[in-house]
Symmetry: C2
Subunit: 178 residues, 2 copies
DNA sequence: GAGCCCATGTAAGATGTTACATGATTTA
DNA sequence: TAAATCATGTAACATCTTACATGGGCTC
């Protein structure tokens, strides 16, 4: 019953709460949803599926597609309990690793024109994220519920980045100095 | 001359561009500045300082405080060049790991009241970040330049999180459903 | 003189990504 | 029939954090 949670545990429990899935399905779904704020790789997913099954938190069933092997997992009652425990736990980690902001932080080393160019580069990066979000938007909307709420949050967040870059570039271009 | 850049390389080059510093100084400065979007630990900093010195990108000088050993590094011309190369490189990684959004994503598993409570928890987390930012604000402002620009960006970003949480909680409380 | 800060450093472990291996099925 | 996709899995690698060891100096 006592099981250590690692980075991928809640993702798997949560994804299986949304419905039975294979490891492959989980990976694909993650890449179109939580990927924007929480990634997961095969190297984490497959070993963890077996660990969680051994602990009785999920149950796997062979469900081949033709001759193609496939193992679909579903959440057990114990697994649902653990998901709820995690959702109710006070811990809320937050880690950001943003090379754009890091470059901007040291941009005084660059000639001013190039430094201001960073705003455009960063803006474009977040536009690309917005494009990606727009691609998955229809699925998020169709699904509804909290996943769609979070999708809207992502839009707001990256739109804010874009707006901030444009505002800052304009402001700093206007002044000779900041 | 050919040297691999790792996660801590640009931080060290950038910090030494801002002025000569010891490893300890770098760590302390990072924790009050880039930490918000780019962390660095002793386990990365000290080995990297030696590697960069061997490569001729930085130069260390013993500068003890009384009998207390201390080694202060400064950027060489080659180091400055590498910093500029990095600043001009097109790559801009971005990774977010936000347990708050992850919980929100799976919040349909919770009773509605508790799910809405997540907005308050997340909001408080970002208020705490804003408090931390406010603490270092005076130093950022005094320093000015791009570090201060980035500090303002951090404020905008986390204020946006706070505002979004409050807006969403109100909106979803108003509807019986979303 | 106890406890905290300065200062350097590393070992061990946790974590995560990448790339590949395998093999079946579907699509062009 | 070649290429893409489905599907599982792991080994090797890269990365990063934590905790500790060491020792001097400062403050109460």
């Amino acid at each position: 019953m006592m099981i250590e949670l690692n980075g991928v545990t809640p993702v798997i429990l949560g994804m299986l709460f949304l419905g039975p899935r294979s490891g492959y399905d989980i990976k694909r779904f993650v890449d179109n949803s939580t990927r924007f704020f929480w990634a997961a790789s095969y190297g984490q997913i497959y070993p963890e599926l077996r660990r969680l099954e051994q602990a009785g938190l999920i149950e796997g069933e062979s469900a081949p597609t033709g001759g193609r092997q496939r193992r679909v997992y579903r959440l057990t009652a114990a697994g649902k309990d653990l998901l709820l425990d995690w959702l109710r736990s006070p811990a809320l980690s937050y880690e950001l690793r943003d090379e754009g902001l890091l470059k901007l932080f040291f941009a005084d080393a660059l000639p001013r024109e190039e430094a201001l160019g960073l705003f455009r580069t960063i803006r474009d990066r977040h536009r690309a994220v917005l494009d990606r979000l727009a691609e998955v938007g229809p699925y998020a909307k169709e699904r509804g519920g909290f996943p769609y709420v979070v999708w809207q949050g992502g839009q707001a967040l990256h739109s804010q980045y874009v707006a901030w870059c444009e505002e800052m570039e304009n402001r700093l271009s206007a002044d000779g100095k900041e």
